[in-house]
Structures are given as structure tokens and as C-alpha cells.
């Protein structure tokens, strides 16, 4: 997600991580095209979204993570992020925000968004010690919990 956000900077990047239905496990990364190609707005390309949705449907997968980047502001859902997600969004998904405003350090935060309410949640990074180490401040060998409080 961070690499995708960096690659598309200064435009906002967006994408999904799909997983087997009902498991909540984020297993398959799907970078999406930002049809808005904008530094301040993102929208999934409608044709590509349909194709990827069909693939998930056929695989009995669902959206576990829906992410996008902010390129000039913090990794926190904006008013339009929350408004659109509440009106017609992905109710089971973790909405992950990545900010690329700092060229050295990417900030990654995760939220639930429902009925206009934004609730931050901790992120646990597991299973890839080297990747973990490059994104964290304090670590154990293969797992780090980023507490949101």
C-alpha cells in the first residue's frame, strides 16, 4: 500500500485488499486506478472496479481493506471520505489511510467508517520482520501492534 501510494504521488492512490468471505483476512492486494487522477480526490475506475468485483465474487472473496492515500494532509478520513463511505460504502472494510506528505516517513492508519462515525483501530503487522522494521519505531521480531490511543 505504501509503495503504491509513493508510486502515484502526488496523485492520490487507492486500492483494496481482498480476503476469503467471512474471515476478515487481508490476503490479495489489488491496486486500483484513481479515475480522478487528482492530488485531492480519488475514485475507483468504474470498469476496473466491476472487473475486480466479479473476480472477488467468483472467488468467494470480499473487501477486507479499502485504502487510499492523502498526499498533502494527514492519514485521517476527510469529510468527503466519511460522507461517501457512510452513504454507500463498504461496511465490513477497514478503511486504511496512507499519507505521503513526508518523503521519508509514511504514516498508515486504519479506521471503521459507518453512519458518519469514524472509529480508529490499531494495526498489527505480522510475518514479515524486515518489512515491519522499515515501517515502525519500536518493534518485536515479527509483530508490532500500532496502538491508536
Amino acid at each position: 500500500m505504501v509503495a503504491h501510494a509513493r508510486a502515484d504521488h502526488p496523485d492520490e492512490a487507492c486500492g483494496l485488499i481482498a480476503g476469503p468471505e467471512g474471515t476478515g483476512r487481508p490476503e490479495r492486494h489489488i491496486p486500483m486506478t484513481n479515475a480522478a487522477r487528482s492530488t485531492t480526490f480519488y475514485e475507483f475506475d468504474a470498469e476496473e472496479w466491476k472487473r475486480e468485483y466479479d473476480r472477488m465474487w467468483d472467488n468467494d472473496e470480499e473487501v477486507v481493506v479499502a485504502y487510499h492515500s492523502h498526499t498533502h494532509t494527514e492519514a485521517y478520513p476527510s469529510r468527503s471520505d466519511a460522507g461517501i463511505a457512510s452513504q454507500l460504502g463498504l461496511p465490513g472494510a477497514h478503511y486504511v489511510l496512507v499519507t505521503t506528505k513526508d518523503p521519508e516517513t509514511a504514516e498508515v492508519r486504519s479506521f471503521r467508517i459507518a453512519d458518519g462515525v469514524i472509529t480508529e483501530e490499531p494495526i498489527e503487522v505480522t510475518g514479515a520482520p524486515e518489512a515491519v522494521q522499515s515501517y515502525k519505531f519500536a518493534h518485536t521480531p515479527d509483530s508490532t501492534v500500532y496502538d491508536c490511543h
Binding site: E47, Q87, L90
Partner: protein
């Protein structure tokens, strides 16, 4: 005439949890009227009071985004598959 409709998670509260429902109609507008009779409140989530598609909903007939084939007036044929998806979008 039977049209299969794929319902996104957020709208399954209107379909008793079903992800797939079937409906009838010569056009998309007729299909939503027909679906609304059995799935109370579904239409209002997709169609505005003014009778247009909501800005942040994507509707497809087979693989076609209906915005490019007449919107709610798009024609349906027996066996077509309609998919409703949230338009995943936002901005800073």
C-alpha cells in the same frame, strides 16, 4: 423476463441478507420499481428523489456502466445481469 441483480453488502439490509435477487423490467427504472416492492427501501439508496442515479453508486448491466448507455432508461433483456456497487471515492 428475469433479471439477476447482485446486491452489495451495504444494501443487503434491504434484501434480507441476500446477495443475489431477481427482478423484472424493460428498463433499469422499471427494474428498481419492481425490486422496491419486494425489497423495501432499496430503490431510495440507488435513485434520488429527482429520479436520477445517486452520484456515488455504480450500476452495471452485464459489464456496461449504465451512465454510458442511458442511465435509468437503459434497456434490459431477459437474462441480463445487473450489478450495484458503491463508487469507492473520497478526497482530502
Amino acid at each position: 423476463m428475469s433479471i439477476e441483480v447482485r446486491i452489495p453488502t451495504i444494501l443487503r439490509q434491504h434484501t434480507k441478507g441476500e446477495k443475489l435477487v431477481s427482478g423484472e423490467g424493460e428498463t433499469l427504472a422499471e427494474l428498481f420499481d419492481h425490486l422496491d416492492a419486494a425489497n423495501n427501501g432499496l430503490k431510495a439508496r440507488v435513485v434520488t428523489e429527482e429520479g436520477a442515479l445517486h452520484r456515488f453508486v455504480n450500476v452495471y448491466i452485464n459489464d456496461e456502466d449504465v451512465r454510458f448507455i442511458g442511465g435509468l432508461e437503459a434497456k434490459l433483456s431477459d437474462g441480463d445481469q445487473v450489478t450495484i456497487l458503491p463508487a469507492v471515492a473520497g478526497g482530502m
